[in-house]
């Protein structure tokens, strides 16, 4: 299991990385490398050159502003866990990140890597969807921002073009206060068989307002449980409403026919169960 021969360049700035990227159609950006390096060993990825962007300072920033929270693409998982501002404003990202793989992987993997790799079982995918993340992209030609609904194109395919670079992930504020991420992991890979991120506010009468609910892992693609969100709007959060929302929320996904060990019917059930468990966590105690 040896990767094919590669070139290696270390970029000091975003501009340098983009320039290198525009010169070589087979080059790939490397940050934590925890998705890319295993693929290279299996020769499922054979880039000509790796452009290491892990030491570009701009990619490692974390800005909290009144309108938004912007997280540099190179911010590592463990850094998301330790930030007190995030803990206060969007604890769901810490909850989701704390169950990604294992400590060693969390020391290397980055939020940008998770977004770009577009693995349909990624824990953060549910967070991106529920919180309506916006992806800040740069290329030699300029900048653009891709909203979440345009981000995931297919399993392992995001909207990022070959010569583009994800520089940051933005989460618009305000973010509802009640947040939860729950997960049922694959016993071998640790990936989500079903992971649910849910956020909402409750009015003073206990009625749901502005729910964002998303499911990763279970379906062919991570999805937003829009029907559940709409159905819950203005309703109290109790056993019956949770059960109903979980039911209709699971229906929002499209499930593959079969993957042998974890059949579609089972994964859909898991989506429903995890939806219910996430919503239960948000209900008033």
């Amino acid at each position: 299991m040896i990767a094919a021969e590669i070139g290696y360049e270390r970029a000091k700035t975003i501009e340098e990385a983009l320039s290198l990227l525009s010169q070589d159609v087979d080059a790939k950006l490397l940050s934590g490398g925890h998705s890319l390096v295993p693929l290279m060993k299996l020769r499922l990825a054979q880039p000509s050159t790796l452009i290491d962007v892990s030491k570009i300072p701009e990619l490692r920033t974390l800005d909290v502003e009144s309108e938004r929270i912007t997280i540099g693409a190179g911010v590592r998982y463990f850094e998301l866990l330790g930030d007190t501002r995030l803990e206060e404003l969007m604890p769901v990202i810490a909850q989701a990140t704390s169950v990604i793989a294992d400590p060693q992987v969390r020391h290397r993997g980055t939020i940008g890597g998770a977004a770009v790799h577009a693995d349909p079982t990624s824990d953060l995918a549910a967070v991106f969807l529920a919180l309506e993340a916006r992806f800040h992209i740069r290329s030699a030609a300029g900048r653009r921002i891709v909203p979440i609904e345009d981000w995931y194109l297919a399993p392992l395919t995001s909207a990022l073009e070959r010569d583009e670079m994800l520089v940051a992930v933005e989460f618009p504020r305000p973010i509802p206060r009640r947040q939860a991420y729950v997960k049922f992991s694959h016993p071998a890979s640790g990936y989500a068989l079903a992971g649910v991120a849910a956020i909402m506010d409750l009015t003073q009468h206990g009625l749901v307002q502005g729910a964002g609910i998303a499911v990763t892992g279970a379906a062919t693609m991570p999805f937003r449980a829009s029907t559940a969100e709409a159905w819950l709007q203005g309703r109290p959060l109790n056993a019956e409403s949770v059960a109903m929302a979980a039911q209709v929320g699971a229906d929002d996904g499209t499930y593959d026919a079969d993957d042998g060990q974890y059949p579609a019917v089972y994964r859909k059930n898991l989506a429903r169960v995890m939806l219910a468990r996430a919503l239960e966590k948000l209900a008033p105690q």
Binding site: M1, I2, A188
Partner: protein, 786 residues
């Protein structure tokens, strides 16, 4: 005799190097001028090889030579099997080290590349062009017997590798019995996965003809014996070294094509060659374990007395017969299917079947876990059928203390035991009555908890050589030990056992320290080197302490015997008047005049003044051949919860009560139990090799094949009772496999107990969430829990 270290939790001697990263595993070793080998493996489960074109690979940078089957076939023997069970009609099909014109499983070696560095060797693999003509493949052992299934070997026209029957005639009992229960079980294929992948490094001196092979092996002398034959190298010219070996679990017993090819290339190129498998290779190229379909029947009374048990098994052998492969589903399985129970009649019939899969061989427990699983599971099925508590059923049928030595229906003699004692201790430790109350209370809240038992016995300490011969094992199963005392009284101990994690450098040191009164730090235990240790049969089958330790005790006694004669001479008293205790020789009643073994040893080496007829030096060897196997036993209990919404099984508690005889080092014994239990639970809940219809291994990496992880487990509880085995000088029984043997059925029984109100009697392992959930769904569709 004072026994200072016996029974003490002495910290392991091997840890001193291992915690500092100073171990020497095969792949750690580098030799000057060393080349690297890589093996091209078949991507097809079954195919004809039309042509292999190595021209472009041969031209790759750094490539020294590319070998194919036709190039080596005239120079190398085939890979043999070393176990030929009598009356099994075993089909000894040829197994060439490199496939010549046909491949029979994914992972079979097709070509070997040797290059200057490992990158170059692997790059060249991508340039070898093999023209395959794919053939239909079969991976399921029952389907393989159907007449329409593809055939693997001309020598085995029905794909039957062996057909073996043992036991008594049970027909009459079954036809007259009040209760007969039947159940089919699937014991899925497992992948051993020791954390160290296999590796071979071979150096050849063309001038002297000496070859040294560093191998990841559990039995270096068996490897030497087999490789010498395959390679045509005289045994005295071949040295096999297994220094630090990173776990084996049976998978490092077999002699593989890989080390044979590495040795062949080293000799051919007259350069050291190293080959190390990747984990991905391990999944397809290293032997697998288990893989049975079993049909089990039990006849009994309504009052819970078992009258007979009958087993019919289809065992998957894989595409070829591995070294010990044929012995596993026969001798090591069939002879003990009655388990720990006093059952008058029992029989087993086994079909070993060739399929287009990786060869199957020993895997921790080897045959005995399979047997134990069947009897422990069918006991629970029977208990449910007659409405009896499984504990009560076991109590009625367990062999009683006064029945030992107990001859089972297959004629093997269980050495000693108090089976009921381990059961009682388990019940007391757990407070079984309140567990059952808790279970009922939870059930009323639609929460599902289950308690499962396994009161097992195993046959280990392999074994009496006479029996080995009688059951077709092509070797002895005795063990050797040499104790060499140096002039300063320090000791080198040589053992034919070949530990690879079991800690015998420490326990064997404890035995010698106690018997000879030499401090532990003055004793080095040497193993795993055929040039230093004259002969040995290795470490497997929970044999090392029972058999190797027996040899060691014998050698130590001989040292004392000789030293006593010299001491008598030094003390100027008759030999008969010399007392010995913990390294001190003294005239009866005059301890103050004692001479130490170190002084005696010095005198023995100086030789200035030895008694007449006594040779100088202080070194003895002993060979110990046990008179019987040993039979550890115990009671394991699993407590689980089942989440009906997800089907997830959670292990809430696990208690192991084992009796492996006296424990020389209880800490090490407990560690063996922990590891074994977790491995056995792995089979029950997580692990399983899955082949698709084309014979491709779907679960070919740690991404798909679920290894047990720390967070899946609660704290493991262990207890012990001690019933010495009368068959060996130390009374020890062996503990390496008990955990694996006992835990699988305990956990499955617990899950079935939890699912009992859903009417679920049996599910195939591993009991994954989807399977459990589906079973609950099916029950709900029929009206839900009772």
């Amino acid at each position: 005799m004072s026994r200072k270290l016996w029974g003490e939790n002495v910290a392991r001697r091997e840890d001193i190097r291992l915690v500092q990263g100073q171990g020497q595993f095969t792949d750690d070793r580098v030799l000057p001028g060393m080349l690297y080998a890589a093996i091209l493996r078949s991507p097809h489960a079954h195919a004809k090889i039309r042509q292999i074109d190595v021209a472009s690979a041969q031209k790759m940078p750094g490539v020294i030579k590319v070998y194919t089957g036709s190039m080596v076939s005239g120079h190398l023997g085939t890979i043999p099997t070393a176990w030929i069970p009598p009356d099994s009609q075993l089909k000894m099909v040829p197994h060439p080290p490199l496939a010549v014109d046909r491949v029979r499983y994914v992972g079979e070696a097709v070509a070997l590349v040797v290059a200057q560095d490992p990158y170059q060797a692997e790059e060249a693999l991508y340039r070898i062009l093999v023209d395959y003509e794919p053939l239909p493949a079969i991976s399921d052992p029952v389907q393989a017997l159907e007449s329409s299934s593809p055939r693997l070997h001309e020598e085995a026209p029905e794909n039957v590798a062996l057909h073996w029957k043992v036991g008594t005639d049970t027909d009459e009992v079954f036809s007259g019995a009040d209760v007969v229960v039947r159940q089919t079980f699937r014991q899925q294929r497992l992948i051993p996965n020791p954390m160290e992948p296999r590796s071979a490094l071979v150096q050849y001196n063309s001038a002297t003809g000496d070859m040294t092979a560093w191998l990841t092996t559990q039995n270096p002398h068996i490897h030497r014996f087999l490789m010498s034959g395959i390679l045509g190298i005289p045994e005295h010219k071949l040295r096999v070294i297994a220094q630090d070996v990173g776990g084996g679990f049976g998978s490092k017993i077999a002699c593989y094509a890989d080390e044979v090819l590495t040795a062949f290339a080293a000799r051919d190129l007259m350069r050291p060659v190293k080959w190390t498998e990747s984990r991905s290779e391990h999944f397809v190229a290293t032997t697998h374990g288990r893989d049975h379909y079993d049909e089990v029947e039990l006849a009994g009374t309504k009052a819970g007395r078992v009258l007979a048990v009958r087993v019919k098994t289809y065992a998957n052998m894989g595409a070829y017969l591995s070294t010990a492969g044929p012995g596993v589903p026969t001798i090591l399985f069939g002879l003990i299917v009655n388990g720990a129970y006093d059952i008058a009649q029992a029989s087993a019939e086994v079909y070993g079947v060739f399929t287009n899969t990786t060869p199957v061989d020993a895997y921790r427990g080897a045959g005995r876990p399979e047997a134990t699983f069947l009897i422990e599971r069918i006991m629970d099925v029977y208990a449910r059928e007659i409405g009896m508590d499984p504990v009560e059923l076991r109590r009625i049928n367990l062999i009683k203390k006064e029945q030992f030595p107990y001859t089972n229906p297959f004629g093997i003699v269980y050495d000693s035991g108090d089976y009921h004692q381990t059961l009682d201790l388990a019940l007391k430790t757990l407070d079984y009555a309140s567990l059952r109350q808790e279970r009922e209370a939870l059930r009323r809240q639609h929460k599902y908890m289950g308690v499962g038992f396994s009161t097992y016995v195993e046959m280990c300490g392999l074994g009496p050589s006479q029996v080995a011969g009688a059951v077709g094992f092509q070797g002895g199963l005795w063990e050797s030990a040499t104790i060499r005392l140096h002039p300063t009284g320090k000791a080198t101990v040589l053992t034919g056992a070949s530990p690879h994690g079991q800690g015998e450098e420490t326990t064997f040191g404890q035995i010698v320290a106690d018997r000879l009164g030499i401090p532990l730090e003055d004793i080095d235990v040497v193993h795993g080197d055929t040039d230093r240790v004259s002969m040995g049969w290795g470490t497997y089958g929970s044999r090392s302490t029972a058999v190797g330790g027996g040899a060691l005790a014998k050698a130590a006694d001989r040292i004392v015997e000789k030293a006593k004669i010299i001491a008598a001479h030094m003390l100027e008293v008759p030999v008969g008047a010399v007392q010995y205790d913990a390294g001190q020789f003294y005239p009866e009643g005059s301890r103050e005049r004692a001479v130490g073994i170190q002084d005696v040893t010095l005198q023995a080496h100086l030789g200035w003044n030895l008694p007449e007829g006594v040779e100088p030096g202080m070194e003895v060897s002993a060979f110990y051949d046990p008179t019987n196997f040993t039979y550890p036993f115990g009671t394991h209990v699993a407590v689980v919860s089942v989440d009906p919404d997800t089907g997830e099984v959670k292990l809430l508690r696990y208690l192991a009560v084992d009796d492996c005889g006296p424990a020389i080092n209880p800490m090490i014994v407990e560690g063996q139990v922990h590891g074994g239990v977790v491995q056995g639970v792995g089979q029950a809940l997580y692990e399983g090799a899955v082949y698709d219809g084309d014979g491709q291994l779907v679960s070919g990496s740690f991404m798909d094949y679920a290894m047990p992880k720390a967070r899946f487990f609660p704290r493991l509880e262990t207890q012990r009772t001690e019933t010495p085995s009368p068959h060996n000088p130390l009374g020890v029984k062996g503990v390496g496999e008990t955990g694996t043997i006992a835990s699988t059925p305990a956990v499955v029984n617990a899950v079935m107990d939890a699912l009992s109100s859903f009417g679920v009697v049996n599910l195939d392992m591993p009991l994954t969430p989807p399977k459990v959930w589906q079973a609950i769904q099916t029950s709900m569709a029929k009206g839900g829990p009772s």
